[in-house]
Assembly symmetry: C2
Homo-oligomer: 317 residues x 2
């Protein structure tokens, strides 16, 4: 089958079909999305990862142990726990120390014609959610994760830093809480998308003196991090949504002096994302910059790395 | 009067008596304690601070607007808010942006024969708490602050990193919660003090692989910080009690990937510390390494900077 392969270098190649292990489901991928984490992998964020990247996807089940699954339109939770450790038994497979992660760690991902995933990770996509929206289930779940970790409501002022893919989704999620929301970014067109959705925006370089109850850092820029720390009111909360390749220097004095709570936030629950999509019309097509066929994946990655790009999709055709 | 003065350099000098402002109380200092923050000030942690340091003290009221205060044995909350801003009105004077802090920012401290403090900061020291214990009210309040910010109980495993002054107090506070407690340190004698109190200890360089529900970083060492991050279980909590002069480099990836909550923690409530002292026998004398007269304060500071020292007291005589 055709697939995007990373082994220190990225290429499109012909590779053997994945071998479906017991308990796995084979999915014919329809569409997949390129995420910042994919670019971080290319920069070495997951040392030792080689194989097929890709963890945002929708497809149709081709083979499964449970026959009623075959032919269903699905996506899949990306963390595959060992199933036996304390964390897995507590329902925290996403934090299993021996986990593999689809297209990120120890397991081939979805930038291919076919992908194998454990049956328990499969999430059915309801008919009301089209393929383009379905690719956003994974990143939307990551945005919703913030609300699973900490409570935000109309009484809070919230600043989201970052107008990229994740920042846009966080903005939609935060808007739904009724909080007093502002989104800061550096790209006029991306900020305009938010303004069009009725969300107050400002330029990252013009944050002014205001401080916020909650600041969510989703720009991925290490420089933005210090800015984020200084925008949280005393005893307020800073949510970190970006992973950075390598260490970052931060002056932590304000965290201690102002008694901030810093909340690291990663992947979320797919069921929450599906429910959110079914409740709120989100116009996610507006976040898609371009769609490429699989054999032009390198071009798609280049396009995705450009500062003016939002989501780039791969169509497996 | 005699006082310790810092103006880029530390000296003992004769200075004018403090001028009691309206609403202030003049206290004749009996005993004061040297804290790590005092050493950080000497290193430039509070740029621009010059004057009399010292914020852990006990003394007797010499002059006050309210005559019934005169002659009382007291200590004082160290943060002096503006009294009018939103934070002060919400009872968060400790976070007032225009606050002065006794011996730390914009206000002379207690390493002197006399000190002036706002009457509302005065805390009476009950007869059952002797002068040596009373000097620990401020740092004990800082240790208790952790419990005001986050809940810890018998169901939690807790690692305190740091066997110094603050680490010792944190250990006593954490022990009172019934949590499964370990304290890590680098000094055999200081760890022995904890063992004698029935607290499980280990060497910082032999932390092993175990992770904890809660890790409290109180060693003040930037290197320990990364260690602390890596010892927190997924979705666990890291409490930062140390302020570092200047920025520190931390790899924040584990905070995001493991979805840690990082809680900055600074000063606490004196009333909580007084109540705690009255409820639990703490044997705080064991934490006093030496007591010096005020005119030997430079020697006292040198002694306090030695790695084998715990609390050094200044006796104002």
């Amino acid at each position: 089958m055709k697939a995007v392969v990373f082994d220190g270098k990225l290429r499109v190649d012909d590779v053997p079909w994945p071998c479906r292990a017991k308990g796995d489901v084979l999915v014919r991928v329809s569409t997949a999305g390129i995420c910042n984490t994919d670019h971080e992998i290319l920069k070495g964020y997951m040392p030792g990862f080689s194989g097929i990247p890709g963890h945002e996807f929708v497809g149709v089940v081709e083979e499964a142990g449970e026959p009623e699954l075959v032919g269903r339109r699905v996506t899949a939770e990306i963390n595959c726990g060992c199933g036996t450790c304390e964390l897995c038994r507590a329902g925290m497979q996403r934090h299993c120390p021996d986990r593999t992660v689809l297209g990120i760690a120890g397991r081939d991902g979805a930038f291919a014609e076919f992908v194998c995933v454990p049956a328990e990770n499969i999430v059915r996509v309801p008919a009301g959610i089209n393929d383009t929206h379905a690719v956003f289930i994974e990143p939307l779940a990551a945005a919703l994760e913030v609300l699973e970790q900490t409570s935000i409501g109309p009484e809070h002022t919230v600043l989201v830093i970052g107008d990229g893919k994740l920042g846009q989704l966080l903005a939609l999620v935060m808007r739904s809480t009724g909080c007093r929301l502002r989104v800061a970014g550096r790209h006029a067109e991306k900020l305009a998308l938010l303004s069009d959705a009725g969300i107050e925006t400002l330029r990252t370089d013009r944050l002014g003196e205001q401080s916020y109850d909650v600041v969510i850092e989703a720009s991925g820029s290490p420089e933005a991090l210090q800015d984020a720390v200084s925008r949280v009111r005393p005893r307020g909360r800073l949510v970190l949504k970006s992973t950075y390749a390598g260490g970052v220097t931060v002056d932590l004095a304000p965290v201690v002096v102002n008694e901030l709570t810093v909340i690291g936030s990663r992947c979320g629950r797919f069921d929450a994302a599906v429910a959110f999509m079914q409740s709120c019309p989100l116009q996610l097509e507006r976040l898609v910059t371009a769609t490429y066929p699989l054999d032009r994946a390198l071009e798609a990655f280049e396009r995705s790395a450009r500062p003016d790009s939002l989501k780039i999709l791969l169509d497996m055709g």
